[in-house]
């Protein structure tokens, strides 16, 4: 009977041993509060029950509140999009999901999201294809190859990339990168133009306001996101496994291939998916770089066009009719659902692997 008491109140003896008078006083007041609130008398049934103090209740209420708040926010945003979009969708004369035309003139609504969706997904996936191997390299370098002294500042620099505002990326892409890669685009088009993705598109190669330019800029924006998460995952590779591999005579590359990569694969893929979600929703940088076009998207990297987000941003200044705005908001709803799915997919990959939890 005496044992559970000492387990249940480990603080009291420690406090008195330390000789701190204030500590014991605090203990006394708290326990007297407990009695006042009708708590069980100390020493009898107390250890069996979990003690809650006012702080517990306040803190729990705050955390639950925050959790409910964020869920409510998401739901309300979804509801807002739906409410705004439905009247326009009812008046829409085209098939919203499969039409490639976009006419949001109030009174003559005929809009379809397909072209926007294709450009959005195409540019983001291409950006991801560039960013994934580079991020993998950076993360492996930081965790496996770089000396500790170098790894810390280097990872700060990579993280800094995430802090650069997207408008800066956009201006850099339009004014520096676009003219710089123009000769390369021309070369690709001339030599590999028989492939559809390098065929001549709707955007002038010399000016360089193409999906190609936009995707490279997007890829740079994705680097810090994918690198940061992958780095954390690779860092957690069990030392036992690494040392085991080394003991069996594995070289550095073999260690990475047999322990680090298999262990971190799921984390790396989900990091990439989170990056993809970011690329899909990127607005300002894409809007500045991409030229808009009147022709359909032809699956070429040298097309212009608009992603869903950039289309909305371009039109937002002239929203003066709820029906016209509703058409854009309907497109926004598609983007909302798309990023939601991508993020959920990323989470599900993590959830499938207990070691990250």
């Amino acid at each position: 009977m005496s044992e559970p008491v000492s387990v249940g109140r480990p603080v009291a003896p420690r406090g008195s041993r330390g000789g701190s008078a204030s500590n014991t006083a605090a203990e006394a007041t708290i326990s007297s509060n407990e009695q006042g609130a009708g708590g069980p008398p100390p020493g009898t049934a107390a250890p069996a029950k979990v003690i809650t103090r006012p702080g517990d209740r306040i803190f729990k209420a705050l955390t639950v509140g925050s959790g409910v708040f964020v869920v409510a926010m998401i739901v309300l945003i979804g509801v807002f999009l739906l409410i705004q979009a439905i009247p326009s969708l009812m008046e829409n004369q085209s098939n919203f999901l499969f039409s490639r035309d976009w006419n949001a003139e109030p009174g003559d609504l005929a809009f379809g999201v397909l072209d926007l969706l294709l450009v959005t997904v195409f540019s983001s996936v291409f950006a991801l294809l560039i960013a994934m191997p580079v991020s993998l390299g950076i993360a492996l370098f930081l965790t496996q190859y770089a000396p500790r002294r170098l790894a810390r500042p280097f990872s700060y620099i990579v993280d800094l990339l995430a802090a650069v505002p997207s408008i800066i990326y956009g201006l850099w892409g339009a004014y520096v990168l676009a003219p710089a890669i123009a000769p390369f685009s021309v070369w690709l088009n001339e030599n590999l133009g028989f492939l559809p993705i390098f065929a001549k598109g709707s955007s002038d190669l010399g000016i360089g306001q193409t999906i190609f330019t936009a995707s490279i800029v997007l890829a740079v924006m994705l680097l810090p996101i994918i690198t940061a998460i992958s780095r954390e995952v690779f860092d957690r590779t069990p030392t036992m496994q690494v040392e085991g591999a080394l003991a069996l005579g594995a070289t550095k590359w073999e260690v990475i291939r047999t322990t680090v990569l298999p262990f971190g694969k799921a984390g790396y893929i989900s990091a990439s998916m989170l990056g993809l979600g970011r690329a899909l929703g990127e607005t300002i940088a894409v809007m500045i770089i991409l030229s808009s076009t009147t022709t359909n998207f032809s699956f070429s990297l040298f097309d212009g066009g608009d992603t869903i987000a950039s289309k909305i941003a371009r039109a937002a200044q002239e929203f003066n009719d709820p029906r016209g705005a509703g058409a854009y908001i309907a497109a926004g709803l598609v983007l909302f659902v798309l990023t939601f799915i991508v993020n959920a997919f990323a989470r599900s990959i993590i959830a499938g692997h207990k070691e990250y939890e």
Partner: protein
């Protein structure tokens, strides 16, 4: 900066002189203007300062620069008075004016009867009609960048064909016919248009509809309907894209052509090529016919754009100040009149440097009559 300071010093002196002569007339020297071609209006008018201290206006971004020049003139003429302008777009300007939130609305099109804006404005003005006063005119230039070509001449028909894709090479016979003796390269034409919805696009297309309906074959509207080329974001984006490419052509406001030092095509409406500038545009404004009644100075754009008179540069963007003819409270009416009067007189001096056309004398007189009639 230097020019501005110079101008403000001059106008301070002018303001001082004005005060000494008991609000007499104002010497209308084009202070700080380095554009000798700009014919500044000569008529002057007494400004009765006072009334509401802070006027609020909102609307078209195309007239933002002009309103800034007007406000600077207003502040010097009437110390202590201010006007705040939000360049949020024509639609927003009309909406805010009709809701009674702003004192002056700015719009690149007159109030529309079919959209119910005229009635809404009359309600806002307590049963009195609102007036559209075309205070700000800016020519729109057809800017291009073609290797070895610096003095391109176009007419409405060929412009229409370029912007709808019929003319796809710079050495097309249609272009060559207008530019005899010039060597035009065998490069493709890249049309650059405004990717966002814009009043500039609307006016440019209205011009093509009015002056070359058959060749254009498309409609007007805030969205580019040509079906070729690539869109750039905002006027600055169009200017950048034109200078970044080769064989490019696009339409932008004069001020951007000045800033980016682009070449602009001369327009030949049948009586010889006319250069982009204040002179040709000023003649266009003078020749413009009005279709509004009395002091409601709505411009007949179709007639202006289709004008074939000699020396007229027809591609002009007109933006309106929308005001109540009656129905302001006394304080607001006084301030609105004072602001508009300075805008129509001293405010004109620095307009050419900002890419706008100073009002021609005749037109200025009409505006001043209208402003005087506001009560």
């Amino acid at each position: 900066m230097n020019i501005k300071r110079h101008a403000s010093v001059l106008s301070l002196i002018a303001a001082g002189a004005l005060a000494l002569t008991a609000c007499g007339s104002d010497a209308n020297t084009p202070a700080g203007s380095n554009n000798s071609a700009a014919p500044a209006p000569t008529q002057t008018a007494a400004v009765e300062c006072g009334g509401k201290k802070g006027l609020v206006a909102e609307g078209s971004s195309a007239q933002k620069g002009a309103i800034e020049a007007f406000t600077a003139a207003y502040v010097t003429a009437c110390p202590g008075q201010q006007l705040a302008y939000t360049p949020s777009g024509s639609g927003a300007g009309v909406k805010q004016f009709n809701a009674g939130i702003v004192d002056i609305g700015g719009s690149d099109s007159a109030l529309s009867k079919s959209k119910g804006e005229v009635e809404a404005a009359a309600t806002r003005c307590k049963g009195n009609p609102a007036w559209n006063l075309p205070m700000v005119f800016g020519p729109v230039g057809i800017a291009y960048k073609v290797d070895g070509v610096t003095d391109l001449v176009l007419n409405a028909e060929v412009t229409a064909k370029i912007f709808n894709g019929t003319v796809a090479k710079w050495n097309d016979p249609a272009v060559a016919a207008l530019n005899p003796g010039k060597t035009l390269p065998d490069t493709a034409v890249t049309v650059i248009y405004r990717g966002d919805e814009s009043g500039t696009t609307d006016n440019f297309q209205k011009y093509l509809v009015a002056a070359a309906k058959a060749a254009w074959g498309k409609e007007a509207g805030k969205k580019f309907n040509g079906g070729v080329g690539q869109g750039a974001q905002g006027s600055a984006g169009v200017a950048d894209a034109i200078s970044a490419g080769t064989g490019t052509i696009g339409y932008i406001e004069w001020s951007y052509i000045q800033d980016k030092k682009l070449s602009a095509a001369k327009i030949d409406s049948g009586a010889g090529p006319v250069e982009l500038g204040a002179e040709g545009a000023g003649k266009a404004i003078n020749a413009a016919k009005l279709k509004g009644e009395g002091n409601d100075l709505v411009i007949d754009l179709d007639a202006l754009y289709a004008s074939k008179e000699a020396g007229v540069y027809p591609l002009v963007l007109a933006t309106y100040e929308i005001v109540c003819s009656k129905g302001y409270d006394a304080d607001t009416a006084k301030a609105v009149k004072a602001f508009l009067t300075t805008a129509a007189t001293t405010g004109q001096a620095t307009l050419a440097d900002a890419g706008y056309v100073p009002l021609p004398n005749e037109f200025q007189a009409k505006l001043l009559t209208a402003i005087k009639a506001i009560s």
